[in-house]
């Protein structure tokens, strides 16, 4: 038994390291848990991308749930995400609001012209100032905001078909079940 002790200790360490490796493959290490989850979305007032003279505020969007999708023409991952938004956007059951992040409006419009425009509404944050309030630190990021303006779900990085099926759609279903 005493002879086995070092071996048992060694196996315990192997298990611990194995768990560490497994754990790190299970989640995106660059994703920071948002402290804003299940809290009211920050107030914002941003111009529309296509009609910059008109602004959209958080209060304007209250009453209906929506998916706020942070994107930019300079963001490579957004190009990966875009076909998913185009395919799944109409089936989500919530409005898709595009949040154009730190982009020149002309670049954004050209990019949408090339890739297609799945958004019901497009707002532009050229300075990235409002995005700080949302805790945005890159693109793409997506926020599911309910009719009361509360953030129900956040995804950092591109929405893949897998993420949409396993996380986003269940989150939308849970939200709609609670307050249709």
């Amino acid at each position: 038994m005493n002879r086995l002790l070092p071996f048992i200790g060694f196996m315990l360490l192997v298990t611990l390291f194995g768990f560490g490796i497994w754990w790190n493959t299970q989640h995106d290490q660059s994703a920071i848990p948002s402290p804003l989850l299940n809290k009211p979305a920050p107030a914002f007032n941003l111009p529309k991308l296509y009609e910059p003279t008109q602004t959209v505020s958080k209060n304007d969007l209250l009453g209906k749930p929506y998916l706020l999708n942070v994107f930019a023409s300079w963001c490579i991952e957004c190009g990966v995400e875009h076909p998913v938004l185009e395919a799944e956007g109409p089936n989500l059951g919530v409005a898709l609001v595009g949040y154009n992040y730190k982009d020149a409006p002309a670049d954004a419009k050209r990019w949408l012209g090339e890739h297609g425009d799945p958004y019901n509404l497009l707002i532009a944050d050229q300075t990235g100032q409002t995005a700080i309030d949302f805790g945005v630190y890159g693109a793409p990021e997506s926020f599911l905001i309910d009719a009361k303006g509360v953030i129900r779900y956040k995804h950092i990085g591109p929405l893949t078909p897998d993420v949409v099926a396993k996380q986003l759609k269940p989150a939308i279903a849970a939200m709609l079940k609670e307050a249709p």
């Binding site: 290490q29 804003l36 990235g128 700080i132 805790g135 945005v136 890159g138």
Partner: protein, 175 residues
């Protein structure tokens, strides 16, 4: 912007080097030593390069540098806000600067960032429900190890006492 600054500071270093080399041609050991010292500092000089900000005074600038060095860039998580070249780090530095001009204290600025980016932005994690294992884990392991040692020693002592009654020869060799 900061890339430009870096490029320029490097070019400056190069011309300074040329001057020093010209001076060093009479082969003076002292100048060579000076060169080594200067080179050592050149690296740290452009690591600190940040966009010029209109600080009210030098104390405020030092406070800014101290504060941003304690905060982690959310994008590139192994860099401080002070060191990082990521766009978000630049935005957050500007925001911290603005908050400073509004008279916010360091604690208020940290709280501002934690409210948006969670405890992740703090290099010094606070003690709370999520982090107690991080803080006390090593202590628990230490106590666990101490417990094992105490048990092992007691067991050996008991064994020795039993042996001492019968055979006084074999003891202490277990080590």
């Amino acid at each position: 912007m900061s890339k430009l600054l870096r490029g320029r500071s490097l070019a400056g270093d190069a011309s300074a080097l040329k001057n020093i080399k010209a001076m060093a041609s009479p082969a003076s050991g002292l100048v060579r030593l000076l060169l080594v010292v200067l080179l050592a500092f050149a690296g740290s000089a452009h690591a600190q390069a940040i966009e010029p900000m209109p600080f009210a005074n030098h104390a405020q600038e030092l406070r800014f540098q101290h504060l941003t060095a304690q905060l982690r860039c959310p994008m590139c998580q192994n860099e401080t806000l002070a060191d990082s070249d990521a766009p978000i780090a630049r935005d957050l530095r500007n925001q911290i600067f603005r908050l400073m001009q509004q008279g916010k204290s360091d604690a208020e600025i940290k709280q501002y960032l934690v409210d948006r980016y969670s405890d992740f932005v703090l290099y010094d994690p606070p003690l709370n429900g999520d982090t107690w294992l991080l803080w006390f884990g090593p202590l628990l392991i230490l106590f666990g190890g101490a417990g094992v040692v105490v048990m092992a020693v007691r067991k050996r002592n008991r064994g020795n006492q039993v042996l001492a009654g019968q055979e006084p020869i074999e003891n202490g060799d277990d080590w």
